[in-house]
Subunit: 577 residues, 2 copies
């Protein structure tokens, strides 16, 4: 491509409303433009990268044996009513009426449509397993769309849905998809981790997320220092501390703690470490048959934080997790939230594993401005129900017993999920098994955030000059910058010659033949993030050389003109290889 | 691809609700499935063809110098209000509100979005011309969606928009697009015609449609027998008959024509040919400053039909064309519609060129059940305004003076259009010209109905066994059908070997390894329309041959196993060549 005939829509200024670096750089590099909140046009430069991501995803999905289909974006409400999601889905579902007043939505996902298709097309176990995917525009009406294409309303997703006679077959395809996703992210050239994820809410039995590691990531992901264990923070198990709980040494005592209502304030006032205290949170319980919900107390060590997903998944606790109000606490316990404690508490108590391991600890006395010290489980208060309800912290023991945990930030770009028969049962998607018996199919679903990957890659790979693309998804692999080509026919000719040579060798090349100052051209090519750059100048040509600089290089180097192609072949695979 | 691992969703029965052959065959061949009215899922077999069409369109657009972008499907109402189309567009525009109550539509076309983009990105004549295209899902909420993907509500379109400093530059790009469209349809392997089209309504200055010829087409397209002249019926000019109008020979006479109110009835009753009569149609005139509209009479030769587009484009006639009601006619003329005529008519008269060439003709007398014979222009009635207001008929002289006209049926699959400055003016999309003066850009727009092409190709290419694909867009180019492979390892092995050999040579091959009867497999491959078929059988292998049959061939032929590839190379280009 010749830059003079291409939309190079770079910007010097950082756009004021772009909060994260990928959003800023995608705007500045002329990859996207905002049409409205959460709606972006992909300019030619951005679309090139998007299409390369799509292509890699498609090739690996095809290799896995999945079959590509294309379902409508607009979906009839009737199917969502069958699955129960028309009412459940909430505000993110963009609903609309057609000219005849019938209800539709712009699909945020396609479980209903594919299940409807498969129940009509497949009837025998002999046709299973089957895995169908599409790469398609989706819409989620985010309440607060932001971060550019990272959290847009309209976005491009690869979604796949597999169908099985039984869970063994689902497990096999799930493993194939796990490997396929690794192959995709390997080829994309990204530093990523597959992590165990929570699957409680949708009722599936297993789930993994694929995260691109980036310090700006919104999710905490957890690894073992000494094993393959990896999970997102919601899922990562906090194991019980090793050893027996120490025996009590102190007497139970009431102490006055005037106006001390936080762990920090109480610890400081009493001159003890927060790890010697517990905090007590009150949440709503599940409603009974008459619809009445009570409260449940959750006890955590003072320095730990509640893992809401773990708590929500526990029996007896209302879903979604709902904290008790100050009024409800006052009514049930007779004190303000900062003074609750398990001793003589009249609501059921669930104790976190680490809190359960304490002896001689401090807690609220269920009276305002009073705490208890020297509290001990079993001696002073029963210890009936111990559960894992906290977030892990760095240094915790790994759940697999090997090493300790580290926490990094990640951006979720893929998710694989065993759905079980949630949709097939609700929508009566059955096949006949070997014995002629009708059974609900087992299902898996597998998503990749295609447009989000572009942003995630930038979050992971950039510097103060701009984007640094992995070779595989760079809009162009090579930039050729000609200096003063408008005055020097020699430079113009050498630029064209190199351009043709590299193109014919299979590279995506951008020839920057614009009549701009060298500094402008260099800055643009670095901002856009093209991995390899050759400079063609009169001075170089006089010495028979081109100047080469890799996007991550600190130094330039002179390469003999005839060596340019072999040098590049050594540094970078060609398009499609 | 192995058929045993692929969704071959063929059906024997013709679906009851599919009216046209392409819709029937796309359902029967397992290419598409209906989700809801006008909404179709593309199954793997259909999507392969769709993607090949897309690829050819993309490659030719890229070759033309157009730059690919991707604009959001969901568009904010504000932009459509700027262009005035939010209120004009009518029921086909699918409107919706987001969670904050803001108005959006699912884009049926993208003039507003691209004009908004370009007015923000381009500022100088030096950046022009520019041509941006996308291949994207669109939605038009057709009142009565039907004919499968031929007239679906959700469909895939290639739309391009070009921007220019002046109309000379627009003309150049328009010609480039004309050539590009010819290249696209040539590569698709379709019998098509570019034809002049009417552009009056949108106010543009030129327009061509590209039609795939098929007897089932909805549009009439017109060609000269002796020249390149081609137009759609709306646009095709009906030239004035050659020579002078004959001199009058008859006297004007009133004749009683009881209950004769159609041209046929009057002609038969009077024993004359319909070509000797005229018919008089009354339509509404444009409203005057006070909003009052009168009537205008349109006079046609009895055997001719009104061309509503031509009439609507005439000065003084209301747009859209509106026929007068019986009551309005009664009030203005004093008779029923079947008895009107130009003599002594009190409303303005526009006479078609052919009607104006008549002498001694018959027309209504503006009294019920009375006609006039021997009527002559100028002697009996003024002839002030003669226009071209009729549809051409076969045998008419070609407007370019070379040959006569033929009429065929076509399916519109492409449309190129000079928009002028309609959108750039309404939306203030300007650049600075060479003199630093701000000017509205000239625009062109260029559409290809990508999903429609798939159906149009089938309308043009099928027989009683099923689809006949052009090589370039067949889902698979070659079918290998193995006979009794489940019992014969020799056949299975030879099938696999041929499959690998042809695949490695660059062909898209479907190996029909299903455990089905030969008749079922043959019928499926023919229904699906794969251009080339090899049969691998024990009997053939014993003689060292494979059986070959082209989809259009009537006879099979035996080909030595070793000759299969060279034979194929001779008959068909490889994928992507």
């Amino acid at each position: 491509m010749r830059a003079s005939r291409y939309l190079i829509a770079t910007q010097k200024e950082t756009p004021a409303d772009a909060e994260i670096i990928s959003h800023q750089l995608m705007l500045r590099a002329g990859m996207i433009r905002k049409l409205a909140a959460g709606l972006y046009t992909w300019l030619p430069m951005g679309l090139r990268t998007l299409r390369k991501v799509e292509r890699i995803v498609r090739e690996e999905m095809d290799k896995s044996g999945a079959q590509e289909v294309l379902m409508p974006a607009v979906q009839p409400a009737e199917l969502w009513e069958e699955s129960g999601r028309w009412t459940q889905y909430g505000g993110e579902l963009l609903r609309m009426n057609d000219r005849h007043g019938r209800e539709f939505c712009f699909g945020p996902t396609h479980e209903e449509v594919i299940t409807d298709l498969v129940r009509n097309e497949l009837s025998s176990y002999k046709e299973l397993p089957a895995n169908f995917y599409q790469i398609q525009t989706k819409f989620r009406d985010e309440r607060r769309p932001r971060f550019g294409v990272m959290r847009a309303r309209e976005f491009i997703m690869k979604d796949a849905y597999s169908f099985h006679l039984n869970s063994e077959s689902l497990n096999e395809t799930y493993q194939v998809m796990h490997r396929t996703y690794c192959a995709i992210f390997d080829r994309l050239g990204l530093d990523y981790r597959p992590v165990q994820a929570d699957s409680g809410a949708i009722g599936g039995s297993a789930s993994h997320e694929f995260h691109v590691l980036a310090s700006s990531g919104e999710d905490d992901i957890v690894f073992s220092t000494n094993s393959d264990y990896a999970a997102n923070i919601e899922k990562a198990e906090a194991v019980a501390p090793a050893g027996e709980r120490p025996a009590p040494t102190e007497e139970l005592k009431e102490v006055s703690t005037p106006d001390k209502r936080t762990i920090d304030a109480v610890s400081e006032f009493l001159g003890i470490d927060a790890t010697r205290t517990v905090k007590t949170l009150l949440v709503k319980s599940e409603a009974d048959e008459d619809g009445n919900a009570g409260l449940i107390a959750l006890i955590l060590r003072g320095d730990h934080t509640l893992n809401e997903i773990k708590a929500e998944n526990l029996q007896g606790i209302a879903e979604p997790l709902t904290m008790a109000t100050d009024e409800e606490i006052e009514k049930a316990v007779g004190c303000k939230p900062g003074s609750i404690g398990p001793v003589n508490l009249t609501v059921p108590v669930i104790v976190d594993r680490s809190a359960a391991h304490l002896s001689d600890f401090v807690c609220g006395a269920n009276k305002n401005d009073v705490h208890l010290t020297g509290v001990n489980w079993q001696r002073d208060v029963a210890l009936d129900r111990v559960e894992d309800i906290r977030n892990v912290v760095e240094g915790d023991a790994s759940p697999d017993g090997q090493g300790t945990l580290e926490i990094r930030r990640g951006i979720e770009v893929g998710h694989i999920f065993k759905l079980g028969n949630k949709y097939s049962k609700a929508m009566n998607a059955t096949v006949l098994d070997e014995n002629g018996k009708s059974v609900s199919m087992e299902m898996g679903c597998y998503g990749v955030g295609v447009s989000r990957i572009v942003a995630a890659s930038i979050e992971q790979n950039h510097d103060d000059k701009g984007i640094i693309w992995p070779d595989a998804i760079a809009p162009f692999q090579v930039a050729i910058v000609t200096l003063n080509a408008h005055k020097s026919p020699t430079v113009a000719e050498a630029g064209e010659k190199l351009y043709e040579q590299l193109r014919q060798a299979g590279y995506d090349v951008l020839l920057d033949d614009r009549n701009e100052r060298p500094g402008v051209k260099f800055a643009d090519m670095e901002l856009i993030g093209i991995p390899h750059r050759f400079v063609v100048s009169d001075r170089g040509l006089a010495a028979g050389t081109l100047e080469y600089k890799g996007r991550r290089d600190t130094d330039k180097q002179d390469i003999p003109v005839a060596e340019a192609l072999p040098f590049l072949v050594n540094s970078s695979p060609r398009k499609g290889l």
